[in-house]
Symmetry: C2
Subunit: 184 residues, 2 copies
Amino acid sequence: MKFCSNCGAPVTLKIPPGDSLPRHVCDACNAIHYQNPRLIVGCIPEWEDRILLCRRAIEPRYGLWTVPAGFMENGETTAQGAVRETLEEANARVEVASLYAIYNIPHINQVYMLFRARLLDIDFHPGAETLEARLFTEREVPWEEIAFLSVRNTLDHYYADRRGGEFKFHLGTIERPRPGGRAS
Amino acid sequence: MKFCSNCGAPVTLKIPPGDSLPRHVCDACNAIHYQNPRLIVGCIPEWEDRILLCRRAIEPRYGLWTVPAGFMENGETTAQGAVRETLEEANARVEVASLYAIYNIPHINQVYMLFRARLLDIDFHPGAETLEARLFTEREVPWEEIAFLSVRNTLDHYYADRRGGEFKFHLGTIERPRPGGRAS
């Protein structure tokens, strides 16, 4: 951020009076521009013993697989956002069941919120940001080609819970990957 | 938003190619400025059979009571944000126990995330945005002076759960108040 979105004048990074963190403050109109983490909402769409995954047609992680998810929009609830993303990415209709996992990813200022959801039919097909959408059994999941560590962890928990006979809510944090380590 | 925070030129509200919603797009550098919901993180600080509430020294809802909570900051986890807000608003130290409630408030583009937390001591005192910080038993809670409906609902559930002997996670939505209806 270099300019004030309110008046167009340059902004300066400084700690406003009474605050404790540096903010972008307008040199002309004194507007304070806060930047906050974004919510990524999505779901694990279920059909019998299979789940729907989407192969990404966009960066980052072009060509890798993920659950349908994306940035929550203003004016919607978290569950509505998950339903919308599933429709956009896979043209798939779901009914949200329960909140399944939340992952903090502080180094990129994101919070993932993933629901379990029931596919209402299997008449789905890839949306504009998806190369391929298909159903996978646990054995078929492309474990080495999952786009994000938050999704990989969620699916690990998901199948462990399913084997255990009970789906439990998971709250976790994805740390910044170490140099040479596995990507997040 | 009237000006581009990247180059200072005017922005126009329009639907970018491949998108489905209007965004603020820069007329000069074509930067797209997304606006997304914000997360409010906080906690219910517990000490024996009492909880810590804060009386607000700022608008909105100056003078009314709430749990310690505020906007999640970049670079932190949701639980770290809840601990930080409790320290800022009441100079109180807590250990987060579990996620207790999430409330969507779509008409103001907010998502509340509240944890149960254990006060580590009761040597607290009001922070700069707080008029008064004190412990309340259920009977003492100022029910008619709670600042936000999300907090009121959370406390309703909290005491119902405590009477029932089990704290269950709650996910809800606060709808836009009807004209003449109760405030959110």
